[in-house]
Symmetry: D2
Amino acid sequence: MSDKLAVARRCADAMWDKDQASQALGIKVEVPAAGTAVAKMKVRADMLNGLDVCHGGLVFALADTAFAFACNAYDEQTVAAAAQIEFLRPAMLDDRLVATAVEDHRGRKYGYYTVEVRNQSDTLVALFRGRAAGTGKSMLSG
Amino acid sequence: MSDKLAVARRCADAMWDKDQASQALGIKVEVPAAGTAVAKMKVRADMLNGLDVCHGGLVFALADTAFAFACNAYDEQTVAAAAQIEFLRPAMLDDRLVATAVEDHRGRKYGYYTVEVRNQSDTLVALFRGRAAGTGKSMLSG
Amino acid sequence: MSDKLAVARRCADAMWDKDQASQALGIKVEVPAAGTAVAKMKVRADMLNGLDVCHGGLVFALADTAFAFACNAYDEQTVAAAAQIEFLRPAMLDDRLVATAVEDHRGRKYGYYTVEVRNQSDTLVALFRGRAAGTGKSMLSG
Amino acid sequence: MSDKLAVARRCADAMWDKDQASQALGIKVEVPAAGTAVAKMKVRADMLNGLDVCHGGLVFALADTAFAFACNAYDEQTVAAAAQIEFLRPAMLDDRLVATAVEDHRGRKYGYYTVEVRNQSDTLVALFRGRAAGTGKSMLSG
């Protein structure tokens, strides 16, 4: 494993232990490479909205978790500054959603990420774009 | 109460009963007028992320709920097609968040809404913009 | 006229003299109050795209000019950091477009603005949202 | 040349002849593959705004042209429904800007594209995301 990936995974471990929100949603996260992340979530009954589909906010939350683990790979605490999501198809009860985050550009002030959320049929459910801002604080020696 | 508001509230009631996601997040919703909605949520420990602030996805979810109740006021099942959120300040444990949705424009195909999320100090936490698409199906006689 | 409006108009005058782009597009700008602006443009033949409607980039440019004059009202040079536009209807040759910018929120770091672009029938052509960032430099004593 | 690329280029030629706006801006377009496009523009004096940098609307217009030629590759007239742009760095007089559009996803109703705008130093100036909607009309037999 490269040093870069090792740092990314140590950051992910440090975040994960405290990430009660993602844990409560049953999300699982993997960091295949620095600047990327894969987050998985099964749509539970308590995630459905008034139209009997997965609440868009929880699809967003899944994507946002993938985004957070992708952008927090460099031992600098980094927060979401903004995000945009397109809902292409509804996610249904028991769907197994997979959110894959990749880094489009990492500049001086901001990083830009795209997250695709797909269901178990590999159909695109949502397309998410996030802008991340570094805080200047270390993640690992914080 | 105007007929228009009465319809909006009947739609809200119909949605609310099935909206397990918003209920699980402890959200409360009011519909002061057709095309508007106010949703409230207290930030719980199980809503915190790896940086000890409220998971951005759950701030989004609160705004998205307000958006859903604002746009589903006309007895037509209406879904979120896209949304954009700016995170201005973190929300902290026990913060009492209030999301207020207003209708900017309701056109033939889409409706456009702005949601402000404020904390108990009336400070703006997030600014959300949503695009809603009607499905052509009735909400009340569905 | 309030002092605030007087400053806004002096900033507008200072910008306008150098704004060759807006002048070349035949745009006219008014600043009715600090934080707002109205920009007008007639769609010329050299603004049409390959589908015989006004190039979306020029509709955006009109909205962006209104945005720039709305956010540069406080004697601080302020630039567009990001913007989002929804194209609701095409603008046609000879349409007289009016872009009206209002300030949604002005925070410590960023200002948020909405611009509506309407045609001569008062039909909404585009809905624009901009995020402005102050540079810390004076506009008037620069 | 593949049939697919041949169609894309015939569509591009058909659009280009009528695209007075892109021509007036001095833009040049190439279509290296269906679903992609490269558009180039030199920043002229009449493109500068009141802060002496290239008007953001014209940076957007360049990206939008690349987007239009990328999404109009399939012999169906396709229009921009929405777009989002992040301005990372100003573009200056005489800068030679290159906008490269790629297709992120092409679904039933909408196509999603990313356009990077870089200057002559290959520095990212703007990051653009567009949503395109097909009209159902042929481009070539129209």
